[in-house]
């Protein structure tokens, strides 16, 4: 079985997206990056991110990640903000009672994008 199937597939993504996005928007460390964005469009992007982290089908390349976050790096996006997102991801999965070893796998996938997201 793949991580995506183990974690609950698309149903798990749908359950997670509102919880995760809620945590991100309430997080004083990172919420300012979302000022002025279209909330419904952003929710779709959060869903794409979670699908990727859950080992689901995606076609994002490292280059896509760089381009997509370059405007945020210009605004000061750094490791501390990436850590905050990682924390929110873990807390979301814990809240959904996902077993620890699967959370670790999802976290590892998300972690693998760090360099590209931060434009390093």
């Amino acid at each position: 079985m793949s991580l995506f199937a183990d974690i609950g597939g698309e149903g798990a993504v749908n359950a997670a997206v509102d919880i995760f996005y809620g945590k991100v928007l309430k997080d004083d460390r990172i919420k300012h990056f979302f000022d002025g964005v279209d909330m419904s469009r952003q929710a779709a992007k959060q869903k794409a991110f979670l699908t990727m982290a859950f080992g689901g089908p995606h076609n994002y390349s490292g280059e896509d990640m760089r381009k997509g976050h370059a405007h945020l790096v210009a605004k000061g996006l750094n490791d501390s903000h990436f850590d905050a997102v990682m924390e929110n991801l873990g807390a979301t999965l814990t809240e959904l009672n996902v077993p620890g070893h699967l959370i670790a796998q999802a976290a590892a996938i998300a972690e693998s994008t760090r360099k590209d997201v931060l434009g390093k």
Partner: protein, 318 residues
């Protein structure tokens, strides 16, 4: 082999997604995730059937208008597609009536010269001339009335609203666009509770949405909060009170943010009052229209109160 019609050209599409087919042939269209998730590449089908899979994850309003995700759409038949921001066509309409609904808001009824399809809550563009255009929401319901009904706020020095208030009279011909926008009622989930929050002439689309929902026999709660600075800014109050008397699942709460008020008018910012009354919005559908700052805060606050992002429909205009 299915064909894709896009931008006046025809493209053969064999065993490929609409997005792959178009980009492979050098057509430049926006996209990002290519997995049916991020919605960057969203298009609208104007003819032909779209496989259900290509609409997974889109909200009901988008599905109802044949929007789909070309990156996960392998067409089984010929389809014609457009990008979502293509300017809608223009048509002529005749002014049936024009009257002030309060000191600042003008109610205009228009009879389109041709059959006119729309959903209550969508907006049209209203042309003073080729280049002077404003968007106004539709407060009318096609199943209930023939005329289109607009609520135009008279903006001091406003080019279009001043022209409307000073020059327009019954019998005049005006140019409008076809209707567009995603803030409207769909009759699926009739048991779902609905919260509507509007300020000023942001009441217009909500008035259409509410009457459409009641006309379709909506079963869940329909709670409307209309905000204004002062009591003079409220309008359609009699019509809304009558609806609240006729339908036990509909409530109308006018709110004013400045000055003392008496029952049944509530004192306070409309968003605060609405959230005090409805602190938990899990499973609710939410419509937000009016002042952009209010709409932005309300999107956030109603989401924090438990409404799912895909159930929040917003129409900010100032």
């Amino acid at each position: 082999m299915p064909k894709i019609i896009y931008g006046g050209q025809s493209y053969d599409c064999e065993d490929s997604s609409v997005l792959d087919c178009l980009t492979a042939q050098g057509v430049s269209v926006p996209y990002s995730c290519r997995s049916g998730l991020c919605q960057t590449c969203m298009m609208k089908a104007v003819s032909g059937n779209i496989p259900e899979k290509a609409q997974a994850g889109l909200n009901d309003a988008l599905v109802a208008q044949n929007y789909f995700l070309p990156c996960v759409c392998n067409p089984q038949e010929d389809i014609e597609v457009i990008l979502p921001d293509v300017t809608p066509g223009k048509i002529q309409a005749h002014v049936s009536s024009i009257e002030y609904l309060n000191a600042d808001i003008i109610g205009i009824k228009l009879k389109p010269a041709l059959p006119f399809e729309y959903r209550p809550g969508q907006f049209i563009n209203f042309f003073k001339d080729e280049t002077t255009v404003r968007s106004y929401s539709l407060a009318s319901v096609p199943e209930l009335e023939e005329d289109l009904f607009l609520n135009v706020r008279k903006v001091p020095g406003g080019l279009v609203s001043s022209w409307i208030s000073d020059n327009l009279k019954p019998g005049d011909t005006v140019t409008i666009s076809a209707a567009s926008g995603n803030c409207f009622y769909v009759s699926e989930k009739p048991e779902q509770n609905i919260l509507l929050i509007g300020t000023g002439s942001g009441l217009a689309p909500l008035y259409g949405i509410i009457r459409a929902a009641l006309h379709h026999g909506h079963q869940g709660r329909i709670n409307l909060y209309h905000g204004s600075y002062t009591i003079d800014g409220l309008y359609l109050t009699e019509e809304l009170r009558k609806l609240a008397q006729s339908y036990s699942n509909f409530s109308y709460s006018p709110c004013v943010s400045e000055g003392e008020t008496d029952e049944p008018i509530r004192q306070g910012m409309v968003l605060d009052v609405a959230l005090q009354d409805n602190p938990s919005l899990k499973g609710w559908r939410v419509f937000l229209c009016g002042h952009p700052e209010m709409v932005k805060s309300a999107q956030r606050e109603t989401f924090f109160a438990g409404a799912s992002m895909r159930d929040i429909f917003a129409d900010p205009f100032g």
